[in-house]
C-alpha cells in the first residue's frame, strides 16, 4: 500500500496523544482511590500536550482527503463504517477530554472529575480501536485483516503515550519510578505483540494466489484438469502508472525496508527501554527520547502501510499476497 505521510502522522500523533491522555485520566482515578498527593499542574500540562497531539493528528488526517469540503459528512454511516465511528468518537473524546482538563484546572468536585476521567479513558480506547478497525476491517489486505492490528495500535498508543508522559514529567518533583516501570512494561508488551505480528506477516496463513484471483483454481481450469495450472501476467493493459498501481502496487526497496525495521526496533523499543532504565533526569535526554520515539514510530507506521499487500496486486501479476 502507498504510505501517505498525512495518515502516518495522523495515526502516530493521535495514537500517542490518546494513549497519553488515557494515562493522565487514569492517574485521576489512581489519586482518587489512593492517598497520593503529588502536584496536579504538571499532569495537567501533560494532558494539554496530549490533547494538542490528538488535535494535530486529526488535522493531518484531513490532508489525506482529496475532497475535504465534504469531510463534515463523514459521520453519516455510523452503523457500518469504522471511519464514521472514528470521526464521531474522536469529536466526543475531544469534548470530554477538554471538559476533564477544565474540571481539573478549576478544581471541580472529585465526583464529577472521576466520571469525566472514566469517560475520557473509555473514549480514548474506543477512538484507538476505531482507527485500527478502519484497517482491520479490510478483507482484501491480509496484513491488516487481523485482530493483531487493533491490539498493536492499542499497545503502541499507550506505550508511546507513557514515554511521552515520563519525558514531560521528568523535570518535576513527581516520583518517576512507577511511571518509568509503567512505560517500560507497556513497551515490552508492545514489542512482544509487534514481534508476533511480524511473524504472522512472514507466514503463510490466509494467502490468496493469482490463480485464485483469476478463477483458475475453480473456474477457468474446468472440470477434470489438474489442480496445478499456473497463471502469469502477460500484459497489464496500460503503458504507464494508474491510480491502482500508485495506491496498491507499491513495493519498498529491500534496503529501505530493512532500515525502517531497524529504526523501528531501535527507536520505539530498545533505545526507549535503555533511556527509561538509566533513570537520570536530563531534559535534553528526555527531548531526544521523544524525537527518537517519533522517528521510530514513523518507521513503524510506514512499514505498516508498505508491507501490506492488497489483492489488486494479484491482477497486476503478483503470484500471492
Amino acid at each position: 500500500m502507498h504510505a501517505a505521510l498525512s495518515v502516518i502522522l495522523f495515526t502516530v500523533l493521535s495514537g500517542m496523544g490518546l494513549g497519553a491522555f488515557a494515562i493522565v485520566a487514569a492517574d485521576e482515578l489512581a489519586r482518587t482511590f489512593s492517598a497520593r498527593a503529588d502536584a496536579l499542574a504538571p499532569w495537567n500540562v501533560a494532558g494539554a500536550i496530549a490533547l494538542a497531539l490528538v488535535i494535530a493528528g486529526l488535522c493531518f488526517s484531513t490532508l489525506h482527503l482529496a475532497n475535504p469540503k465534504n469531510a463534515w459528512r463523514s459521520a453519516a454511516r455510523f452503523r457500518t463504517s469504522w471511519l464514521s465511528r472514528e470521526a464521531v468518537f474522536a469529536v466526543a473524546f475531544l469534548a470530554t477530554a477538554a471538559a476533564f482538563l477544565g474540571a481539573r484546572w478549576m478544581g471541580v468536585a472529585a465526583g464529577a472529575r472521576v466520571v469525566l476521567a472514566v469517560l475520557t479513558v473509555g473514549l480514548a480506547w474506543v477512538v484507538i480501536v476505531c482507527t485500527a478497525m478502519i484497517y482491520a476491517s479490510l478483507k482484501p489486505i491480509r496484513a491488516w485483516h487481523t485482530w493483531r492490528v487493533p491490539l498493536n495500535y492499542l499497545l503502541l498508543a499507550h506505550a508511546s503515550g507513557a514515554v511521552l508522559i515520563v519525558a514531560i514529567l521528568d523535570g518535576t518533583a513527581i516520583a518517576m519510578q512507577p511511571l518509568r516501570m509503567l512505560a517500560a512494561g507497556l513497551l515490552l508488551v508492545a514489542a512482544l505483540a509487534k514481534w508476533e505480528y511480524r511473524r504472522y506477516l512472514a507466514g503463510d496463513q490466509r494467502r490468496v494466489t493469482l490463480e485464485s484471483a483469476l478463477g483458475v483454481a475453480h473456474g477457468v481450469r474446468g472440470a477434470g484438469a489438474p489442480a496445478t495450472v499456473a497463471a502469469r501476467l502477460l500484459d497489464v493493459g496500460h503503458s504507464r502508472g494508474t491510480f491502482l498501481t500508485r495506491e496498491f502496487v507499491v513495493t519498498p526497496t529491500p534496503v529501505r525496508q530493512q532500515a525502517a525495521v531497524i529504526a523501528m526496533w531501535l527507536g520505539v523499543y530498545v533505545l526507549q527501554l535503555l533511556w527509561l532504565w538509566q533513570g537520570t533526569r536530563n531534559p535534553i535526554a528526555a527531548a531526544l527520547a521523544i524525537v527518537v520515539l517519533l522517528s521510530g514510530l514513523l518507521a513503524e507506521r510506514w512499514l505498516f502501510f508498505v508491507e501490506a499487500r492488497h489483492t489488486v496486486r494479484l491482477y497486476h501479476g503478483e503470484r500471492r499476497v
Binding site: 495450472v229 497489464v236 493493459g237 491502482l244 489483492t311
Partner: protein, 233 residues
C-alpha cells in the same frame, strides 16, 4: 433485481474496445463524468478508467492459453465499498447497481481499499471516487432504441464476449449463460458475493504434461532435443 455482466473468457480477444467505449460514454456522462486524464499526450500519461483489460497466460505449453481478462465493478451483493464509506456517497441501488454520489464523496480512498478487484479509481481533478455505473444512464433511457439500452462496453464488444442482464431472473440471457457454461465469480474466498460472472474457456488450459521422451534417435530428433534444452535451460 440483480443487474450485472457476463464476460466470456472464451471469446474475448483483448481488444480493449469495451474499455475505450466505456471511457467515451462515461467521460461525457453526467453520472460521474468527466473521467479525467493527466498529461494524456505527455511522457507519463495516466487517467481514470472504469474498465481495464489485462492479459494472462494460464497453463503450460503445449496446453497453455492466453486469457484476456476485462475487469470492471462486479456490483457485489455484499459490497464492502458501500459499508465502509463514511459519508454515504457510495450506495447500492434496488436494481443492484453500486454508485458513488459525486456530491457527497470526500475522497478518503477507503472504498478503493475495501474493493479487492480494483474497480474504483480516484479522480484527482474532482477529488472524488469514480467507478463503473453499469451505464445506468443508458439502460433505462426510453429515448434509445430497445437494443441500445445496454452498457456501452456490451454494445462495443466485437466478439459478443459481454452480456448484460438481470441475474435474479432465471430466464435471462446472463442467468442462462452462467448456468450452461459454468460461469464463476472472482475471489469467492473473500465472500463479497460479486454479481458479474466470467465464462471459462471452452478448452481449458492444461498443466505441463511430463516431458515427452525422445524415443526416435534421428539426427533431427537430437537437434530438436538439444534446441529445446538450450531454450528451456
Amino acid at each position: 433485481m440483480k443487474l450485472g455482466l457476463v464476460i466470456d473468457l472464451d471469446t474475448c480477444v483483448g481488444c480493449h474496445a469495451c474499455a475505450t467505449a466505456c471511457k467515451e460514454w462515461n467521460g461525457a456522462s453526467a453520472i460521474s463524468g468527466p473521467l479525467t486524464d493527466d498529461s494524456p499526450y505527455g511522457a507519463d500519461p495516466t487517467g481514470v478508467w472504469f474498465n481495464r483489460v489485462r492479459h494472462y497466460e494460464v497453463g503450460e505449453f503445449p496446453g497453455c492459453k492466453t486469457i484476456n481478462f476485462p475487469m470492471s465493478c462486479l456490483h457485489c451483493e455484499d459490497a464492502a465499498c458501500v459499508s465502509v464509506c463514511p459519508t454515504g456517497a457510495s450506495y447500492k441501488r434496488e436494481d443492484g447497481i453500486v454508485l458513488v454520489d459525486q456530491d457527497r464523496c470526500m475522497g478518503c480512498n477507503l472504498c478503493a481499499w475495501a474493493c479487492p478487484y480494483g474497480a474504483r479509481e480516484l479522480d484527482p481533478a474532482s477529488g472524488t471516487m469514480k467507478k463503473c455505473t453499469l451505464c445506468v444512464d443508458r439502460i433505462y433511457d426510453q429515448s434509445l432504441p430497445v437494443e441500445e439500452r445496454e452498457p456501452a462496453c456490451v454494445l462495443a464488444c466485437p466478439t459478443h464476449a459481454r452480456h448484460f442482464g438481470d441475474f435474479d431472473d432465471p430466464q435471462s440471457k446472463v442467468s442462462q449463460l452462467t448456468a450452461s457454461r459454468n460461469g464463476f465469480g472472482l475471489l469467492g474466498e473473500l465472500d463479497y458475493k460479486p454479481v458479474n460472472r466470467y465464462l471459462p474457456p471452452r478448452t481449458p488450459p492444461q498443466a505441463a504434461s511430463p516431458a515427452p521422451a525422445v524415443a526416435s534417435e534421428g539426427a533431427l530428433a537430437r537437434l530438436i532435443a538439444r534446441a529445446r534444452a538450450a531454450i528451456t535451460g
